[in-house]
C-alpha cells in the first residue's frame, strides 16, 4: 500500500507511466503477441496427464470382437436409409429392440429463420431414435451417451453400425453402473438440440419436439462418433463446442491414453503429433495446430455433434474416423475396442469429470497450455487499454493552464457546470447512436429479408447477409458528430472523455469475452487494441480511417476466414474467400437463432458499437 499512499512515489510512477506511455504500450503489444506465439513452444507447455483417480488407476480390458458384424449392420442401415430416403425409424427401432435395448423415438420440427444454403435445409422435420441400456449394477441415476448422426448420403453409416454393434456387445456385459444411451440423431445439431432439450425439459430456442418417453439418469459424459469408411487410418478428436466451451481435459486425456494403448493413430485438428519440437518445422506445426484450435474456438460454433452437450454441463467430444492415404490401417474392431475401453473407464467415474482443466489450448494431443499460461498474453494486450485510460485521465485531471491565485480559480469552476452538461450530452449522443446502430445490425437482417427478396434479385440467405453488411457499412456513414450541434465545436475535453469511456468499455468488454471464450477475446484484442490506442482526432484522417476499417470486426472476420483456410492448407482465391465470408456470416446468424450461440449478438450489440465510438473519435472535429 506504500505505493498508493505515498504521494511522492505515486507522482513519480504516474509521470513515468504518462511519459513513457507509447513505448510501454508498444512493448506490451509485442510482448503479448510474442507470449502467445511462445505458447506453442513445447518446453513452455505442460504434458497432459490423467487427473481423475477413478479413470487413471483402474484397469480395464477391451474385448470387443464384432467389428465385421457391426460393419454389416452399417451396410444394412445404409440400405434401409436409402429406401426410406431419411432416417429408417422402423428398422432402427426393431434392430435396437432385438439387441435388448429400451427404444424410444422423438419427433422434432424446426423452421429456420432463413434457408441454410450450406446444408440445404429450411423446414426441418425429423426423428431421433435412442435406446437405453439399463445399468445392471447400480441405481439408474447416472448415464453415458454414445451418439452417431444419421447423415444424408453415404456418410456415417459405419458409425451407426458400430454403435449398434457396441450396443449388442455392451448388453451382454455385467459391469455397467451407469445407463448407456445409444442415440442416432437426424439433422445433426438440430436433432441433438431437440433431444437434449427434451431430455432436460428446457426450451431455449423455441423448437417443436415431442417429449421423451424414456430417460436415464443425469448424463455424465457423451461421445459422438463420425465414421464413414470401413477402414480408417487415424482418429481425430474434436473438442470445440458452443460458444467456445471445451470439455474437461480428462476426456481428451482418456482418448489419448487409449489410442496409445491400443495403437491407433490419433490427431487433433487433423494434425499428427510430431516429436521434433526443437526444429522450426516442428514448432510451426505446433503453432498451426494451436492456431486452428484458437480459430475454431473463437468462431463460437459447435464443431461436432457433441458441442451442445457442453451447455448442459456434460463433458463431450466428437471422435472422427479419417481415411487418408497412410499405410497404417485400423479396422472397425479396433475402434470398437477403443470405445469400449473409454466407456468402461467413464463407467468407473464416481463424480462428474472436474479434476482437470476446463480452460486450455492444445498445440498437440499430448501437450496443453492452461489458463494460467495463456491469460498473460491477453493481459499484456488489456494492460495497454488501462495505460491509455490512465494517460487520458491524467490529461483530463490536469488542465494545461493552472492559475496560482485562488480567486481566479473560482471563475472556471462556475463555468464548468454548464460545460459538463454539454460534455455529458456530447458523450451520450455517440454512445446512444452507436448502440442503436448495433441494435439495427442485430435486428434488421432477419426482419428485412422478405422485403429485400421482393425488391432485389437475391435469395433469402443472400438478402440476410447483404442487409447485415449494408447496415454495418451504413453505421460508418452516420452523422456521429452531433455534438457540433450542441456545443458548436467539438472540444478537446469532449473527445478525451469519450475516448476514456470507450477505452474502459473496450477493456471490460474484452476482459469478459476472454474469460468466456479466450480465443475470441484474444483475436478481438489483437485488432481492436491498436485502434483504441492510437485513435485521436489529430492523426491523419484518410490513412487512419483506412487502418480503422482494416481493423474493424468485419475485416477481422474476413482475414480470419483466409487465415483459417491457410492453416488448413486449403488456400483459396479472393473470390471464393469472399463467398466463404458471406456464408460464415449467415452461419453465424443461424447458429445464434438455432443453438443460441452468443458470438453474433456479442459482435453486433457490443463490439461493433464500441468500435464505432473510436470511429467517432477519429471524426470528432
Amino acid at each position: 500500500m506504500g505505493l498508493l499512499s505515498d504521494p511522492n512515489r505515486r507522482r513519480a510512477l504516474i509521470s513515468l507511466l504518462t511519459r513513457l506511455n507509447t513505448p510501454i504500450c508498444i512493448v506490451c503489444y509485442m510482448a503479448g503477441v510474442a507470449w502467445f506465439m511462445g505458447l506453442a513452444f513445447e518446453p513452455f507447455t505442460l504434458r497432459t496427464y490423467m487427473s481423475e483417480n477413478a479413470m487413471g488407476s483402474t484397469m480395464v480390458e477391451e474385448r470387443f470382437p464384432a467389428g465385421e458384424r457391426a460393419l454389416a449392420t452399417g451396410r444394412e442401415f445404409s440400405a434401409h436409409k436409402k429406401r426410406t430416403g431419411g432416417m429408417p425409424v422402423e428398422w432402427l427401432m426393431k434392430t435396437m429392440q432385438a439387441k435388448g435395448l429400451e427404444v424410444f423415438t422423438q419427433r422434432f420440427s424446426r423452421t429456420l429463420p432463413f434457408p441454410d444454403e450450406n446444408k440445404e435445409r429450411y423446414m426441418v422435420r425429423g426423428t431421433n431414435v435412442y435406446g437405453i441400456l439399463r445399468a445392471p449394477r447400480a441405481p439408474r441415476t447416472e448415464a453415458l451417451v454414445l451418439s452417431a448422426p444419421c447423415s444424408p448420403g453415404d456418410n456415417n453409416n459405419q458409425a451407426v453400425g458400430l454403435l449398434l454393434g457396441l450396443a449388442e456387445y455392451f448388453r451382454n456385459q455385467i459391469y455397467w453402473a451407469k445407463d448407456i444411451i445409444f442415440l442416432v440423431n437426424e439433422h445433426d445439431l438440430i436433432g441433438m438440440q431437440a433431444w437434449l432439450e427434451g431430455y432436460h425439459h428446457t426450451n431455449t430456442t423455441g423448437m417443436d419436439w415431442s417429449p421423451l418417453q424414456g430417460r436415464g439418469g443425469s448424463i455424465q459424459a457423451a461421445l459422438s462418433l463420425e465414421l464413414s469408411s470401413d477402414i480408417i487410418t487415424s482418429l481425430d478428436l474434436v473438442l470445440e463446442g458452443l460458444n467456445g466451451q471445451l470439455p474437461n481435459l480428462d476426456l481428451a486425456n482418456l482418448f489419448y491414453a487409449f489410442c496409445q494403448k491400443i495403437g491407433v493413430l490419433c490427431t487433433i485438428q487433423g494434425k499428427l503429433q510430431r516429436n521434433d519440437w526443437d526444429s522450426v518445422s516442428g514448432y510451426s506445426h505446433a503453432v498451426q495446430t494451436m492456431m486452428l484450435m484458437v480459430m475454431k474456438q473463437a468462431s463460437g460454433r459447435p464443431w461436432g455433434d457433441h458441442g451442445l452437450f457442453l451447455r448442459y454441463h456434460i463433458e463431450a467430444a466428437t471422435i472422427k474416423g479419417v481415411n487418408s492415404f497412410r499405410q497404417y490401417k485400423t479396422d472397425a474392431t479396433t475402434i470398437g475396442r477403443l470405445l469400449e475401453g473409454m466407456y468402461r473407464k467413464l463407467n468407473n467415474l464416481l463424480e462428474r469429470l472436474h479434476q482437470s482443466y476446463f480452460f486450455y489450448l492444445m498445440p498437440s494431443l499430448s501437450h496443453f497450455v492452461s489458463i494460467g499460461y495463456y491469460m498473460p498474453a491477453f493481459g499484456l494486450l488489456a494492460v495497454i487499454l488501462l495505460l491509455r485510460a490512465l494517460d487520458l485521465w491524467v490529461q483530463l485531471s490536469t488542465p494545461p493552464q493552472r492559475t496560482e491565485d485562488g480567486v481566479t480559480d473560482i471563475e472556471p469552476v462556475r463555468g464548468t457546470h454548464f460545460k459538463t452538461v454539454a460534455d455529458l450530452l456530447s458523450l451520450l449522443t455517440p454512445l446512444v447512436i452507436s448502440h442503436l446502430t448495433g441494435v439495427a445490425l442485430y435486428m434488421l437482417p432477419i426482419r428485412f429479408q422478405e422485403m429485400a427478396v421482393e425488391h432485389f434479385p437475391v435469395s433469402e440467405t443472400e438478402a440476410v447477409v447483404l442487409t447485415a453488411i449494408a447496415v454495418y457499412t451504413a453505421g460508418l456513414a452516420l452523422p456521429h458528430n452531433t455534438h457540433r450541434l450542441l456545443s458548436g465545436e467539438g472540444t478537446e475535453q469532449g473527445w478525451r472523455v469519450l475516448k476514456l469511456v470507450a477505452v474502459l468499455y473496450l477493456a471490460v468488454l474484452l476482459g469478459c469475452t476472454a474469460l468466456i471464450n479466450f480465443s475470441l477475446g484474444f483475436i478481438l484484442a489483437l485488432t481492436l487494441v491498436p485502434v483504441a490506442a492510437f485513435v485521436t482526432p489529430h492523426v491523419p484522417k484518410v490513412l487512419s480511417a483506412f487502418i480503422l476499417v482494416i481493423l474493424s470486426p468485419a475485416c477481422t472476420l474476413l482475414f480470419s476466414v483466409f487465415f483459417f483456410q491457410e492453416l488448413q492448407e486449403m488456400p483459396i482465391s479472393f473470390q471464393d474467400g469472399w463467398l466463404l465470408f458471406l456464408s460464415v456470416i449467415s452461419q453465424g446468424i443461424l447458429d445464434h437463432s438455432l443453438y443460441g450461440s452468443l458470438v453474433y449478438p456479442l459482435i453486433t450489440l457490443l463490439v461493433y458499437p464500441c468500435w464505432l465510438l473510436f470511429w467517432n473519435i477519429l471524426f470528432w472535429n
Binding site: L4, L246, H313, F358, A389, L504, V508, G511, I516
Partner: protein, 435 residues
C-alpha cells in the same frame, strides 16, 4: 428546483416501469448480487402464502423478513411494483431534502468561520460557493434514482429498497433536527436489519451539535440528552417488537430474522465476504469467526465517531458504507444508498487519490460478476474461487473508495486549519503523508 426533481422522478419511474414490464425483470430477480436470502421477493411471496394458510411464515426456513414487512405486503401485494417504486422515490426525495438542509448549514457555518477569520488566507480556493452547491441535492437524488444498482434492486423487488427508504427518512428527520422522529425511524431501521444501530452515534452527535450540547462526558446535559434519545429509541423499538408479536402471536420471528442475520446460516454466494469464508471453515471455529466478522460492522463506530465528531453527516456516510461492506447479506441496493452521498463530497475531489483506480475496479467487477457466475454455475468450467476473487476485489475497491474519501475529508479539514500550501520548517514545500 422542483421542476428538475419532478422530471428526474418521472424518468426514474418510467425506466423502472419499463423494466418491470420487460422479460428482464425475472432474470434480474434471480441474480444473487441483487437479492439476498433476506430480501428476495420470492421468499416474501412464500411467506405470504404461508401466512394465508394460517401457518407461521417463518416455518420452513425460507422467509426471513420482519413481520411488519409481511403485513405491509399482505395488503399491498397486488401493488408491489408501485410500492417499490414509491420506496425509491421516497428515498430520493428524503435524501434530496436532507442534503439541501445540510448544505444550508454547511454554508452558514462556513460564513461564520469566514467572518470570524478562522480560515487561513491561502485556503480561499477550498471555500465552497453556493453556485456549486446549488445542484448537489439534485445530483444526490439522481445518483440514487438512476444508479443501475438501485434500478436493478427495485426491478428485482428486493426489500432492500424499503430499508433504504427508512434509513433515508431517518437521515432526513435527523438533519431536520426532529429528535423523536429520528429515534423512531432509527428503531424501525434497526428492527429491519439490526446493523443501522450503529447510526445512532452520528445521529446523537448531530442532534447535540444542533442543540448546542457539548460532547463532554462530564456534563449532565450530555448524559441527559443521551438518556432521552435512548428512551425514545428503545421505547419505539419495544413498541415495534411487541406489535410484531401481537400480529403473529409468536416470537418465531426473532431467531428467524435476527438469528439469521447474525449467525449467517445461509451461504448462498453474494457480493459480501461471509459466504465463501464460512463455507470453507471448520465447524468448531465458526462461532469465533462469526464474532470477528460481525464485530467488524460495529467496531468502526467508535474510532470513526471520535475522529469525526464534528462532522456527523460525513460519519453517517462512512457508517452506511461500512455497513454495506461488512454486513452478512449485502446486495447492490445497500451500496447504492451510500453511493448516493458521493455528490455531497464533490468538493473533496481534488484530494482523492485513487478514484480512477477504484472506479475502474468497481466497473470491471460489476461486469465480471455475471460472467463468472455464468462460468461457475452454467458452464461449469470455473468454480467458486473465481467468483469469490471478484467479490473480494469488489469489496477491496469499496474499502479503498471509502478510505479515500475519509482521507480526503480529513485532509481538507487539516488544510482549513493550517493552510493549503504547507511549508516545511526550512521553507520548502511539504507534502502530507498518510502513515
Amino acid at each position: 428546483m422542483a421542476a428538475p426533481l419532478t422530471l428526474l422522478l418521472l424518468v426514474a419511474v418510467t425506466v423502472r416501469a419499463a423494466l418491470f414490464r420487460s422479460s428482464l425483470s425475472e432474470l434480474i430477480s434471480e441474480r444473487v448480487e441483487v437479492v439476498s436470502p433476506l430480501t428476495a421477493w420470492k421468499r416474501v411471496i412464500e411467506g405470504l402464502a404461508l401466512l394465508d394458510l394460517g401457518v407461521s411464515p417463518y416455518s420452513g426456513d425460507v422467509f426471513h423478513e420482519t413481520p411488519l414487512t409481511i403485513y405491509l405486503f399482505h395488503f399491498l401485494v397486488d401493488y408491489a411494483e408501485v410500492t417499490f417504486m414509491l420506496a425509491d422515490v421516497i428515498t430520493a426525495v428524503a435524501l434530496y431534502m436532507a442534503v439541501k438542509d445540510y448544505n444550508k448549514q454547511v454554508f452558514r457555518k462556513q460564513k461564520f468561520a469566514l467572518e470570524a477569520d478562522r480560515y487561513p488566507l491561502d485556503c480561499l480556493e477550498l471555500i465552497r460557493s453556493p453556485k456549486e452547491m446549488y445542484y448537489i441535492p439534485l445530483k444526490v437524488a439522481m445518483f440514487y434514482l438512476l444508479n443501475p444498482f438501485t434500478i436493478l434492486s427495485c426491478v428485482a423487488k428486493s426489500t432492500c429498497g424499503l430499508n433504504n427508504a427508512i434509513i433515508a427518512l431517518f437521515i432526513l428527520s435527523t438533519i431536520k433536527g426532529n429528535v423523536l422522529l429520528s429515534a423512531i425511524f432509527l428503531s424501525l431501521a434497526t428492527y429491519q436489519s439490526i446493523y443501522p444501530l450503529t447510526l445512532c452515534a452520528p445521529a446523537l452527535l448531530y442532534l447535540m451539535q444542533r442543540q448546542y450540547i457539548p460532547v463532554n462526558f462530564r456534563r449532565a446535559s450530555f448524559w441527559w440528552f443521551i438518556v432521552q434519545y435512548a428512551f425514545m429509541y428503545l421505547g419505539s423499538l419495544f413498541v415495534i417488537i411487541c406489535l410484531s408479536f401481537f400480529l403473529l402471536g409468536s416470537w418465531d420471528y426473532l431467531p428467524s430474522v435476527y438469528g439469521f442475520i447474525l449467525s449467517v446460516p445461509d451461504l448462498t454466494p453474494n457480493i459480501g465476504l461471509f459466504w465463501y469464508f464460512f463455507a470453507e471453515m471448520f465447524e468448531h471455529f465458526r462461532l469465533f469467526f462469526l464474532c470477528v466478522f460481525q464485530i467488524n460492522v460495529f467496531f468502526y463506530t467508535i474510532p470513526l465517531s471520535i475522529k469525526l465528531k464534528e462532522h456527523p453527516v460525513f460519519l453517517i456516510f462512512m457508517q452506511l458504507a461500512v455497513i454495506s461492506i461488512f454486513k452478512s447479506y449485502p446486495t447492490v441496493g445497500d451500496i447504492s444508498l451510500y453511493m448516493a452521498f458521493l455528490p455531497v463530497w464533490s468538493h473533496l475531489h481534488r484530494f482523492l487519490r485513487n478514484i480512477f483506480l477504484v472506479s475502474c475496479v468497481l466497473l470491471a467487477c460489476s461486469a465480471l460478476f455475471p460472467v463468472l457466475w455464468h462460468l461457475w454455475i452454467y458452464a461449469g468450467s470455473a468454480n467458486s474461487n473465481f467468483y469469490y476473487a471478484i467479490t473480494l476485489l469488489f469489496n477491496v475497491a469499496q474499502i479503498l473508495l471509502v478510505s479515500d474519501y475519509f482521507y480526503a475529508f480529513l485532509r481538507r479539514e487539516h488544510h482549513l486549519t493550517y493552510g493549503l500550501y504547507l511549508k516545511r520548517k526550512d521553507g520548502s514545500e511539504a507534502t502530507l503523508v498518510l502513515k
